[in-house]
């Protein structure tokens, strides 16, 4: 046992073993679906239907991945998921950049250029993070139609920016609140203007919160289903909606292996982001849940 147990319970070997057993059991529960998807995405279909989902493949094949990517039937088109993957990219990149930039500027104003009533405005924006989006679906469909954005990627970008602003503003506001006011005051006295202070003083020290916000927005926008299902048409349909079409299509043979490969393709971008920068991902989750 460690020299300084700190919080740790002083306990015997048996309790320790049970503790590890419980932790490993949980790890198995969390890894199981990923394992099932991976293993079965490289099996021929007969092996899944007749066999054991937990068994390793007898005949390894990458055909399900190829099929999921470029030939599986999505709706009426045998295009695979690739066009929808790019649709998602085209939607996510601008949506993330715009909402992050606006969030940074909002956070800057709300902490360094405070005015009467700013807390109320912030509260209004913050509540917007939590609304059930069902309450905006009907009018949003009409507005997108009126703006000529119905069924377009630009329309989806707008929707994601609007409903992402609350969180991006929250992140930057809490981060900038801890930034010393003295520096800003000194810069103001030196005659630096609004944008100059932002650009020269705040942005250079915003690295971590930019990463957190970009990851948060990327994950949320990439994983969104409701807006994609409600407002996209075939040319702008995002990955999640296409995946659901693939899996729930009732015609033909159910190609489980292709479904699993497709699910992994849809999961890959956010999973990679999580693996590469898990620390920031967790920080974003926490910041979204607990105020700063």
């Amino acid at each position: 046992m460690a020299a300084d147990p700190g919080l740790a319970i002083q306990s015997n070997r048996l309790a320790r073993a049970l503790l590890y057993a419980a932790l490993i059991l949980f790890a198995v529960y969390f890894l199981l679906p990923l394992f099932v998807m991976l293993v079965n995405s490289v099996k021929p279909l007969e092996e899944i239907r007749g066999g054991n989902m937990l068994a390793l493949p007898l005949a390894f094949t990458t055909a399900p991945w190829a099929s999921a990517w470029n030939s599986a039937q999505i709706g009426v088109e045998p295009t695979g998921l690739s066009p929808y993957f790019w649709n998602s990219i085209k939607m996510v990149v601008p949506a993330v950049l715009i909402s992050t930039l606006m969030g940074a500027l909002n956070g800057y104003v709300l902490t360094k250029w405070r005015f009467k009533g700013d807390n109320l405005l912030f509260g209004l924006m913050l509540f917007a993070c939590f609304i059930p989006f069902q309450i905006v679906l009907i009018p949003m469909a009409r507005i997108l139609g009126l703006l000529g954005l119905a069924g377009t990627t630009a329309g989806l970008v707008m929707v994601h920016v609007v409903y992402g602003l609350g969180f991006t503003t929250l992140f930057f506001r809490n981060y900038y609140a801890a930034f010393p006011d003295e520096l800003i005051k000194a810069a103001k006295i030196d005659g630096a203007g609004f944008f100059r202070i932002f650009q020269r003083i705040l942005i250079p020290s915003s690295g971590p919160i930019i990463v957190v916000t970009v990851i948060w927005q990327f994950t949320n926008v990439w994983n969104d289903f409701l807006f994609g299902a409600s407002f996209a048409d075939f040319d702008s349909m995002p990955m999640t909606v296409a995946l659901n079409n693939l899996v729930s299509s009732s015609t033909g043979v159910k190609e489980y292996n292709v479904h699993f490969a497709g699910a992994l393709l849809a999961a890959l971008p956010t999973l990679i982001v999580y693996i590469v920068s898990g620390r920031y991902f967790v920080r974003g989750l926490m910041a979204g849940a607990v105020k700063g």
């Binding site: 147990p5 919080l7 932790l23 989902m53 609304i131 059930p132 609007v162 609004f194 994983n223 899996v247």
Partner: protein, 306 residues
């Protein structure tokens, strides 16, 4: 500021001082306008529609509370509410219990914590559609767990909850708990790591046993984490839509219908927009009941404490 600029020998900056006064508000204005129109304006619009006779398209003739009385007379809606109560209750309780347990376990100077923590948390990075797809086939009696256990020699083993209209909602719970427990664990872990070790050491020296230590000292100090976990989980439960669509598509029959799926199908496929709008208003009220007191307390404390 005009004075200070003048002192520095620059030309008088009256216009600029004015700009510095107005500029911040101008920068905030687009976001604020978007929020007012797309959030609050839309809430008012949907609220208004819920009092009208809208079917396929919005219609602006008021008909009073007809949609609400209709809504609460519908069996689909009461199924959706019952399911939300079962699903939400179990989801919140199980995630909180597992999350707390995992956090306490991980806090015991565990070797390999750095490996275990990301394993518990990664489901949070996935889309509910991906989660739904994985669990849909894993819980499928034809090819999933049932088949696995049977091929291990237990021929009579049966696990067909996902096809059973009484039990299917618990499948939604299993998948949702899988997705969110790690997140709750992370919140509790952050809370645990923030507790002052000195108090604990003192209590330990006084001879307090470990369970007592946790019950009396540690868990009460985690109150903020409990509150945050509750708020996040409750609001996620009320909003749940994607997972049900991917996992069961509301079935078998209507057995796993939730308010969110109800709203969508009544508004967009059954062309009963007025009733759909009414159900959205009820959802908003449920969420507001959880969120508003929380946000109010947070922001007030924030502006007081700084």
């Amino acid at each position: 500021m005009a004075a200070s600029s003048a002192r520095n020998g620059s030309p008088p900056w009256g216009g600029r001082a004015w700009a510095q006064e107005v500029l911040p508000k101008l920068v905030l204005a687009p976001s604020l306008a978007a929020t007012l129109v797309f959030v609050y304006g839309f809430i008012v619009f949907t609220g208004y529609l819920s009092f009208t006779n809208s079917k396929i398209l919005p219609n602006f003739d008021l008909i009073g509370l007809v949609n609400y009385t209709k809504l609460f007379g519908l069996r689909h809606w009461s199924t959706a509410l019952t399911n939300l109560a079962i699903f939400g209750g179990l989801y919140i309780v199980i995630c909180t219990v597992f999350g707390l347990l995992l956090a306490i376990f991980l806090d015991q100077k565990i070797r390999g914590e750095g490996v275990l923590r990301p394993i518990y948390l990664y489901p949070m990075a996935l889309s509910f559609i991906v989660t739904g797809t994985a669990w849909k086939w894993f819980l499928d009696p034809g090819i999933g767990i049932e088949q696995v256990v049977r091929s291990a020699g237990f021929e009579s083993f049966s696990f067909n909850w996902i096809k059973d209209s009484e039990m299917a909602i618990y499948c939604v719970v299993i998948a949702a708990v899988w997705q969110s427990t790690g997140f709750v664990m992370a919140m509790f872990l952050a809370g645990l790591r923030g507790i002052d070790n000195e108090i604990l050491k003192a209590a330990q020296i006084d001879g307090a046993s470990a369970p007592k230590l946790y019950r009396r000292i540690v868990i009460p100090q985690l109150r903020p984490a409990f509150l945050s976990a509750f708020v996040v989980l409750a609001h996620m439960a009320i909003k749940s839509y994607d997972l049900v669509i991917a996992l069961t598509n509301g079935g078998p029959g209507r057995a796993t219908e939730l308010p969110a799926t109800f709203m969508y199908s009544y508004t967009f496929t059954r062309n009963q927009m007025g009733v759909g709008a009414a159900s959205a208003v009820i959802m908003l009220m449920m969420i507001a009941a959880v969120i508003v007191p929380y946000l109010y307390a947070e922001i007030r404390e924030d502006s007081r404490g700084g």
